[in-house]
Protein backbone atom coordinates (compact mmCIF):
# COMPACT_ATOMS: atom_id res chain seq x y z
CA UNK A 1 0.00 0.00 0.00
CA UNK A 2 2.81 2.41 0.91
CA UNK A 3 4.43 1.87 -2.47
CA UNK A 4 1.11 2.47 -4.26
CA UNK A 5 0.57 5.73 -2.41
CA UNK A 6 4.14 6.68 -3.17
CA UNK A 7 3.65 6.15 -6.90
CA UNK A 8 0.43 8.16 -6.72
CA UNK A 9 2.45 11.02 -5.24
CA UNK A 10 5.15 10.78 -7.91
CA UNK A 11 2.76 10.33 -10.84
CA UNK A 12 -0.14 12.62 -10.00
CA UNK A 13 1.52 15.17 -7.74
CA UNK A 14 4.92 15.23 -9.49
CA UNK A 15 6.81 14.82 -6.21
CA UNK A 16 10.29 13.37 -6.71
CA UNK A 17 10.84 9.97 -5.09
CA UNK A 18 13.75 11.07 -2.94
CA UNK A 19 11.47 13.53 -1.14
CA UNK A 20 9.06 10.79 -0.08
CA UNK A 21 9.63 8.82 3.13
CA UNK A 22 7.25 7.11 5.57
CA UNK A 23 7.70 9.91 8.09
CA UNK A 24 7.26 12.71 5.51
CA UNK A 25 4.69 15.29 6.53
CA UNK A 26 2.36 17.02 4.09
CA UNK A 27 4.58 20.07 4.45
CA UNK A 28 7.71 18.01 3.64
CA UNK A 29 5.94 16.84 0.50
CA UNK A 30 5.07 20.41 -0.46
CA UNK A 31 1.33 19.75 -0.19
CA UNK A 32 -0.44 22.91 0.97
CA UNK A 33 -4.05 23.02 2.19
CA UNK A 34 -5.69 22.77 -1.23
CA UNK A 35 -3.23 20.12 -2.39
CA UNK A 36 -4.11 18.08 0.71
CA UNK A 37 -7.73 18.05 -0.50
CA UNK A 38 -6.52 16.85 -3.89
CA UNK A 39 -4.50 14.16 -2.11
CA UNK A 40 -7.58 12.98 -0.18
CA UNK A 41 -9.60 12.91 -3.42
CA UNK A 42 -6.85 10.96 -5.19
CA UNK A 43 -6.70 8.41 -2.34
CA UNK A 44 -10.48 7.97 -2.54
CA UNK A 45 -10.38 7.49 -6.30
CA UNK A 46 -7.26 5.33 -6.32
CA UNK A 47 -8.15 2.97 -3.49
CA UNK A 48 -11.96 3.07 -3.40
CA UNK A 49 -12.18 4.30 0.20
CA UNK A 50 -13.74 7.31 1.85
CA UNK A 51 -11.24 9.67 3.39
CA UNK A 52 -11.74 13.32 4.26
CA UNK A 53 -9.28 16.17 3.87
CA UNK A 54 -9.60 16.79 7.63
CA UNK A 55 -8.31 13.27 8.28
CA UNK A 56 -5.41 13.71 5.89
CA UNK A 57 -4.47 17.04 7.48
CA UNK A 58 -4.81 15.74 11.05
CA UNK A 59 -2.77 12.57 10.44
CA UNK A 60 -0.18 14.74 8.70
CA UNK A 61 2.43 11.98 8.25
CA UNK A 62 2.46 9.75 5.19
CA UNK A 63 2.80 6.44 7.13
CA UNK A 64 -0.24 7.32 9.27
CA UNK A 65 -2.26 8.29 6.22
CA UNK A 66 -1.32 5.01 4.51
CA UNK A 67 -2.34 3.14 7.65
CA UNK A 68 -5.78 4.78 7.58
CA UNK A 69 -6.25 3.94 3.90
CA UNK A 70 -5.35 0.32 4.69
CA UNK A 71 -7.82 0.19 7.59
CA UNK A 72 -10.60 1.66 5.46
CA UNK A 73 -9.88 -0.71 2.64
CA UNK A 74 -10.05 -3.73 4.95
CA UNK A 75 -13.30 -2.49 6.47
CA UNK A 76 -14.97 -2.04 3.09
Amino acid sequence: MYESVKSLLTNEFKISEDRIAPDSTLEDLGLDSLASVEFALALEKGFGVEITDDEVVELERLDRIVELVERRKQAS
Binding site: D32, S33, L34, V37, E38, A40, L41, D53, D54, V57
Partner: protein, 344 residues
Protein backbone atom coordinates in the same frame (compact mmCIF):
# COMPACT_ATOMS: atom_id res chain seq x y z
CA UNK B 1 -37.15 20.31 -21.54
CA UNK B 2 -34.46 22.11 -23.45
CA UNK B 3 -35.31 20.56 -26.80
CA UNK B 4 -38.88 21.90 -26.64
CA UNK B 5 -37.78 25.49 -26.52
CA UNK B 6 -38.58 27.36 -29.69
CA UNK B 7 -37.94 30.81 -28.29
CA UNK B 8 -34.41 31.25 -27.01
CA UNK B 9 -32.68 33.93 -24.97
CA UNK B 10 -29.75 35.31 -26.94
CA UNK B 11 -26.80 37.17 -25.46
CA UNK B 12 -26.92 40.61 -27.12
CA UNK B 13 -24.60 42.66 -24.93
CA UNK B 14 -21.92 42.08 -22.29
CA UNK B 15 -19.92 44.35 -20.02
CA UNK B 16 -17.79 44.53 -16.89
CA UNK B 17 -16.93 47.34 -14.53
CA UNK B 18 -14.20 47.31 -11.89
CA UNK B 19 -14.00 50.08 -9.26
CA UNK B 20 -10.94 52.28 -8.71
CA UNK B 21 -9.59 51.20 -5.29
CA UNK B 22 -6.68 48.77 -5.61
CA UNK B 23 -5.41 46.35 -2.96
CA UNK B 24 -2.20 44.61 -4.07
CA UNK B 25 -0.60 41.61 -2.40
CA UNK B 26 2.08 43.98 -1.12
CA UNK B 27 -0.66 46.02 0.61
CA UNK B 28 -1.89 42.84 2.32
CA UNK B 29 1.64 41.80 3.32
CA UNK B 30 1.88 45.06 5.22
CA UNK B 31 -1.12 44.33 7.46
CA UNK B 32 -1.59 40.55 7.53
CA UNK B 33 0.53 37.49 8.22
CA UNK B 34 0.83 36.63 4.54
CA UNK B 35 3.14 36.99 1.55
CA UNK B 36 2.77 37.72 -2.14
CA UNK B 37 4.11 34.24 -2.90
CA UNK B 38 1.67 32.55 -0.52
CA UNK B 39 -1.31 34.37 -2.05
CA UNK B 40 -0.24 33.83 -5.66
CA UNK B 41 0.59 30.14 -5.26
CA UNK B 42 -2.67 29.33 -3.48
CA UNK B 43 -5.11 31.58 -5.33
CA UNK B 44 -3.49 33.04 -8.47
CA UNK B 45 -4.50 36.53 -7.30
CA UNK B 46 -2.18 39.57 -7.52
CA UNK B 47 -4.65 42.39 -6.89
CA UNK B 48 -8.30 43.03 -6.11
CA UNK B 49 -10.38 46.22 -6.24
CA UNK B 50 -12.67 48.06 -3.89
CA UNK B 51 -15.37 50.68 -4.06
CA UNK B 52 -14.57 54.24 -2.98
CA UNK B 53 -16.52 55.78 -0.06
CA UNK B 54 -20.14 56.45 -1.00
CA UNK B 55 -20.34 53.63 -3.53
CA UNK B 56 -21.92 50.20 -3.00
CA UNK B 57 -23.66 47.47 -4.96
CA UNK B 58 -26.27 49.71 -6.61
CA UNK B 59 -23.67 51.96 -8.21
CA UNK B 60 -21.55 49.00 -9.32
CA UNK B 61 -24.61 47.37 -10.89
CA UNK B 62 -25.63 50.60 -12.61
CA UNK B 63 -22.17 51.08 -14.16
CA UNK B 64 -22.05 47.52 -15.54
CA UNK B 65 -25.72 47.65 -16.56
CA UNK B 66 -25.26 50.88 -18.48
CA UNK B 67 -22.26 49.46 -20.34
CA UNK B 68 -24.11 46.22 -21.16
CA UNK B 69 -27.04 48.18 -22.62
CA UNK B 70 -24.55 50.18 -24.70
CA UNK B 71 -22.92 46.94 -25.82
CA UNK B 72 -26.35 45.66 -26.89
CA UNK B 73 -27.06 48.89 -28.77
CA UNK B 74 -30.46 49.48 -27.12
CA UNK B 75 -31.36 50.95 -23.76
CA UNK B 76 -34.75 49.35 -23.16
CA UNK B 77 -35.47 46.08 -21.34
CA UNK B 78 -38.55 44.45 -19.79
CA UNK B 79 -36.85 43.14 -16.68
CA UNK B 80 -33.75 43.53 -14.51
CA UNK B 81 -32.35 40.60 -12.56
CA UNK B 82 -29.53 41.38 -10.14
CA UNK B 83 -27.42 38.59 -8.68
CA UNK B 84 -25.77 39.70 -5.47
CA UNK B 85 -24.78 38.39 -2.05
CA UNK B 86 -24.15 41.96 -0.94
CA UNK B 87 -27.40 43.85 -1.50
CA UNK B 88 -27.34 47.46 -0.32
CA UNK B 89 -29.92 46.57 2.34
CA UNK B 90 -31.43 43.30 3.60
CA UNK B 91 -34.76 44.73 2.50
CA UNK B 92 -35.81 45.79 -0.12
CA UNK B 93 -34.04 44.28 -3.12
CA UNK B 94 -31.43 46.41 -4.87
CA UNK B 95 -32.57 45.66 -8.44
CA UNK B 96 -35.53 48.14 -8.47
CA UNK B 97 -33.16 50.97 -7.54
CA UNK B 98 -30.78 49.86 -10.28
CA UNK B 99 -33.60 49.84 -12.83
CA UNK B 100 -34.70 53.32 -11.70
CA UNK B 101 -31.16 54.71 -11.79
CA UNK B 102 -30.73 53.36 -15.33
CA UNK B 103 -33.98 55.10 -16.37
CA UNK B 104 -35.57 51.85 -17.46
CA UNK B 105 -39.05 52.75 -16.24
CA UNK B 106 -41.37 50.60 -14.14
CA UNK B 107 -39.96 47.27 -15.33
CA UNK B 108 -39.88 44.02 -13.38
CA UNK B 109 -36.81 43.98 -11.15
CA UNK B 110 -35.62 41.55 -8.52
CA UNK B 111 -32.51 40.24 -6.79
CA UNK B 112 -31.20 36.70 -6.86
CA UNK B 113 -29.23 35.38 -3.88
CA UNK B 114 -27.00 32.46 -4.80
CA UNK B 115 -23.63 33.94 -3.81
CA UNK B 116 -20.88 32.93 -6.26
CA UNK B 117 -23.31 30.90 -8.40
CA UNK B 118 -25.63 33.91 -8.48
CA UNK B 119 -24.98 34.93 -12.06
CA UNK B 120 -26.00 31.53 -13.47
CA UNK B 121 -29.13 31.53 -11.32
CA UNK B 122 -29.96 35.07 -12.50
CA UNK B 123 -29.22 34.05 -16.08
CA UNK B 124 -31.68 31.18 -15.75
CA UNK B 125 -34.33 33.62 -14.49
CA UNK B 126 -33.72 35.84 -17.54
CA UNK B 127 -33.78 32.88 -19.91
CA UNK B 128 -36.98 31.65 -18.28
CA UNK B 129 -38.71 35.03 -18.59
CA UNK B 130 -37.90 35.18 -22.29
CA UNK B 131 -38.75 31.52 -22.97
CA UNK B 132 -42.10 31.93 -21.20
CA UNK B 133 -42.84 35.00 -23.27
CA UNK B 134 -43.29 37.55 -20.50
CA UNK B 135 -40.16 39.45 -21.45
CA UNK B 136 -38.43 40.15 -24.76
CA UNK B 137 -35.31 41.76 -23.31
CA UNK B 138 -33.73 41.22 -19.90
CA UNK B 139 -30.75 42.88 -18.23
CA UNK B 140 -28.93 40.34 -16.04
CA UNK B 141 -26.35 41.84 -13.67
CA UNK B 142 -23.95 40.40 -11.13
CA UNK B 143 -22.63 43.02 -8.70
CA UNK B 144 -20.79 42.62 -5.41
CA UNK B 145 -19.31 44.80 -2.68
CA UNK B 146 -17.47 42.10 -0.78
CA UNK B 147 -15.15 44.68 0.78
CA UNK B 148 -18.16 45.54 2.95
CA UNK B 149 -18.54 42.01 4.37
CA UNK B 150 -15.00 40.64 4.42
CA UNK B 151 -13.04 40.94 7.67
CA UNK B 152 -9.92 42.89 6.64
CA UNK B 153 -7.96 40.98 9.31
CA UNK B 154 -9.00 37.51 8.09
CA UNK B 155 -6.16 36.37 5.88
CA UNK B 156 -8.22 33.51 4.48
CA UNK B 157 -10.86 35.75 2.92
CA UNK B 158 -9.28 39.22 2.74
CA UNK B 159 -6.76 38.03 0.16
CA UNK B 160 -9.41 36.51 -2.09
CA UNK B 161 -12.42 38.77 -2.55
CA UNK B 162 -12.85 41.97 -4.55
CA UNK B 163 -15.61 44.34 -5.63
CA UNK B 164 -16.87 44.50 -9.24
CA UNK B 165 -19.87 44.16 -11.50
CA UNK B 166 -20.63 42.45 -14.78
CA UNK B 167 -23.77 42.32 -16.89
CA UNK B 168 -25.34 40.83 -19.98
CA UNK B 169 -28.38 41.78 -22.04
CA UNK B 170 -30.57 38.91 -23.22
CA UNK B 171 -33.04 39.26 -26.10
CA UNK B 172 -35.60 36.88 -27.57
CA UNK B 173 -34.22 35.01 -30.55
CA UNK B 174 -33.71 31.70 -32.25
CA UNK B 175 -32.21 28.65 -30.48
CA UNK B 176 -29.82 28.05 -33.37
CA UNK B 177 -28.27 31.49 -33.61
CA UNK B 178 -24.90 32.35 -32.00
CA UNK B 179 -25.41 33.74 -28.52
CA UNK B 180 -28.46 31.57 -27.75
CA UNK B 181 -28.14 30.38 -24.16
CA UNK B 182 -28.11 26.58 -24.31
CA UNK B 183 -28.83 24.06 -21.56
CA UNK B 184 -28.51 25.28 -17.97
CA UNK B 185 -28.01 22.98 -14.99
CA UNK B 186 -28.40 24.31 -11.45
CA UNK B 187 -28.05 22.57 -8.10
CA UNK B 188 -27.87 23.18 -4.37
CA UNK B 189 -27.03 21.43 -1.11
CA UNK B 190 -28.29 23.28 1.94
CA UNK B 191 -26.87 20.68 4.32
CA UNK B 192 -23.55 22.51 3.90
CA UNK B 193 -24.90 26.04 4.31
CA UNK B 194 -22.32 26.73 7.03
CA UNK B 195 -19.30 26.37 4.75
CA UNK B 196 -19.71 29.91 3.38
CA UNK B 197 -21.79 32.22 5.56
CA UNK B 198 -22.32 35.49 7.37
CA UNK B 199 -23.82 34.18 10.63
CA UNK B 200 -25.24 37.46 11.95
CA UNK B 201 -27.70 40.03 10.67
CA UNK B 202 -30.33 37.70 9.25
CA UNK B 203 -33.63 36.63 10.74
CA UNK B 204 -32.18 33.49 12.35
CA UNK B 205 -29.72 35.33 14.54
CA UNK B 206 -32.14 38.19 15.23
CA UNK B 207 -35.01 35.86 16.12
CA UNK B 208 -32.74 33.98 18.53
CA UNK B 209 -32.09 37.35 20.22
CA UNK B 210 -28.48 36.40 20.75
CA UNK B 211 -25.66 38.91 20.78
CA UNK B 212 -23.42 38.02 17.87
CA UNK B 213 -19.64 38.02 17.99
CA UNK B 214 -18.14 40.85 15.91
CA UNK B 215 -16.69 38.23 13.54
CA UNK B 216 -20.21 36.87 12.93
CA UNK B 217 -20.97 39.98 10.88
CA UNK B 218 -18.23 39.05 8.44
CA UNK B 219 -18.01 36.43 5.72
CA UNK B 220 -16.74 33.10 7.05
CA UNK B 221 -15.48 30.40 4.73
CA UNK B 222 -14.08 26.88 5.23
CA UNK B 223 -11.74 26.86 2.27
CA UNK B 224 -10.68 23.22 2.08
CA UNK B 225 -14.19 21.82 2.27
CA UNK B 226 -15.41 24.38 -0.26
CA UNK B 227 -12.63 23.39 -2.65
CA UNK B 228 -13.64 19.74 -2.61
CA UNK B 229 -17.34 20.43 -3.18
CA UNK B 230 -16.57 23.09 -5.79
CA UNK B 231 -14.46 20.84 -7.92
CA UNK B 232 -16.86 17.91 -7.86
CA UNK B 233 -20.07 19.92 -8.33
CA UNK B 234 -18.79 22.17 -11.10
CA UNK B 235 -17.30 19.24 -13.01
CA UNK B 236 -20.50 17.21 -12.69
CA UNK B 237 -22.86 19.99 -13.80
CA UNK B 238 -20.48 20.95 -16.61
CA UNK B 239 -20.48 17.36 -17.87
CA UNK B 240 -24.28 17.35 -17.90
CA UNK B 241 -24.37 20.60 -19.86
CA UNK B 242 -21.82 19.29 -22.39
CA UNK B 243 -24.01 16.24 -22.94
CA UNK B 244 -27.26 18.20 -23.18
CA UNK B 245 -25.60 20.59 -25.64
CA UNK B 246 -24.81 17.64 -27.90
CA UNK B 247 -21.10 18.42 -27.52
CA UNK B 248 -18.10 16.39 -26.50
CA UNK B 249 -15.35 17.75 -24.24
CA UNK B 250 -13.24 18.36 -27.37
CA UNK B 251 -15.94 20.74 -28.66
CA UNK B 252 -15.43 23.12 -25.73
CA UNK B 253 -13.37 26.02 -27.13
CA UNK B 254 -13.45 28.05 -23.93
CA UNK B 255 -14.13 27.10 -20.32
CA UNK B 256 -15.27 30.01 -18.15
CA UNK B 257 -15.48 29.06 -14.50
CA UNK B 258 -16.38 31.31 -11.60
CA UNK B 259 -13.10 32.97 -10.63
CA UNK B 260 -12.90 31.67 -7.07
CA UNK B 261 -9.34 30.50 -7.14
CA UNK B 262 -7.09 29.76 -10.12
CA UNK B 263 -6.40 26.28 -8.77
CA UNK B 264 -10.08 25.36 -8.60
CA UNK B 265 -10.53 26.46 -12.21
CA UNK B 266 -7.54 24.37 -13.29
CA UNK B 267 -8.72 21.39 -11.25
CA UNK B 268 -12.16 21.55 -12.90
CA UNK B 269 -10.56 21.81 -16.35
CA UNK B 270 -8.31 18.81 -15.61
CA UNK B 271 -11.22 16.82 -14.23
CA UNK B 272 -13.25 17.50 -17.40
CA UNK B 273 -10.28 16.99 -19.72
CA UNK B 274 -10.39 20.54 -21.12
CA UNK B 275 -6.85 21.68 -22.04
CA UNK B 276 -5.55 24.46 -19.80
CA UNK B 277 -5.01 26.82 -22.76
CA UNK B 278 -8.79 26.88 -23.28
CA UNK B 279 -9.47 28.06 -19.75
CA UNK B 280 -10.38 31.76 -19.44
CA UNK B 281 -8.99 33.63 -16.46
CA UNK B 282 -8.86 37.16 -15.08
CA UNK B 283 -8.57 36.33 -11.37
CA UNK B 284 -5.00 37.65 -11.20
CA UNK B 285 -6.29 41.21 -11.61
CA UNK B 286 -9.72 41.16 -9.95
CA UNK B 287 -9.77 38.35 -7.35
CA UNK B 288 -12.99 36.52 -6.53
CA UNK B 289 -15.88 38.89 -7.31
CA UNK B 290 -18.65 36.37 -6.52
CA UNK B 291 -21.76 36.95 -8.68
CA UNK B 292 -19.91 39.52 -10.80
CA UNK B 293 -17.21 37.02 -11.67
CA UNK B 294 -18.61 35.24 -14.75
CA UNK B 295 -19.99 38.23 -16.70
CA UNK B 296 -16.82 40.19 -15.88
CA UNK B 297 -14.70 37.25 -17.09
CA UNK B 298 -16.69 37.03 -20.32
CA UNK B 299 -16.41 40.78 -20.92
CA UNK B 300 -12.68 40.88 -20.16
CA UNK B 301 -11.96 37.81 -22.28
CA UNK B 302 -13.99 39.02 -25.27
CA UNK B 303 -12.46 42.51 -25.07
CA UNK B 304 -8.97 40.96 -24.98
CA UNK B 305 -9.67 38.71 -27.99
CA UNK B 306 -9.50 35.52 -25.91
CA UNK B 307 -13.16 34.83 -26.67
CA UNK B 308 -14.22 35.06 -30.32
CA UNK B 309 -17.40 34.81 -32.35
CA UNK B 310 -18.56 31.18 -32.73
CA UNK B 311 -16.41 29.89 -29.86
CA UNK B 312 -18.30 27.20 -27.95
CA UNK B 313 -18.26 28.38 -24.35
CA UNK B 314 -18.90 26.32 -21.22
CA UNK B 315 -19.76 28.25 -18.05
CA UNK B 316 -19.59 26.83 -14.52
CA UNK B 317 -19.93 28.36 -11.07
CA UNK B 318 -20.07 27.30 -7.44
CA UNK B 319 -20.55 29.08 -4.15
CA UNK B 320 -22.29 29.48 -0.82
CA UNK B 321 -25.63 27.79 -0.28
CA UNK B 322 -24.15 25.55 -1.40
CA UNK B 323 -25.30 26.46 -4.89
CA UNK B 324 -23.78 25.73 -8.27
CA UNK B 325 -24.51 25.52 -11.95
CA UNK B 326 -23.30 25.29 -15.52
CA UNK B 327 -24.49 26.55 -18.90
CA UNK B 328 -23.33 26.69 -22.50
CA UNK B 329 -23.53 29.03 -25.43
CA UNK B 330 -21.88 29.73 -28.76
CA UNK B 331 -20.29 33.14 -28.49
CA UNK B 332 -22.09 35.78 -30.60
CA UNK B 333 -20.72 38.68 -32.62
CA UNK B 334 -20.88 41.22 -29.82
CA UNK B 335 -18.77 44.20 -28.77
CA UNK B 336 -17.80 43.59 -25.15
CA UNK B 337 -17.18 46.63 -22.97
CA UNK B 338 -14.80 46.09 -20.06
CA UNK B 339 -13.93 49.13 -17.95
CA UNK B 340 -11.29 48.76 -15.26
CA UNK B 341 -11.35 52.23 -13.72
CA UNK B 342 -8.14 51.69 -11.75
CA UNK B 343 -6.22 51.54 -14.99
CA UNK B 344 -7.18 55.18 -15.54
Amino acid sequence: MDHNRTRAAVLAGVAGWVPPGTVTNADLEARLDTTDDWIRSRTGIAERHTVPPGMATRELAVEAGRLALKSAGRDDVDAVVLATATPDRLCPATAPEVAAALGLGPVAAHDVAAVCAGFLYALSAGVGAIAAGFADRVLVIGAETFSAIVDPQDRNTAVIFGDAAGAVVLRAGDPDEPGAIGPIRLGSDGTHSDLIQIPAGGARQRAARTVPEPSDHHLQMQGRKVYRHAKERMAQSAREVIERSGWTVEDVDRLATHQANARISEAVADELGVPRDRVLSNIEHVGNTSAASLPLLLADSAAAGRLRTNDRVLLAAFGGGLAWGAASLTWPDVTALAVHTYRG
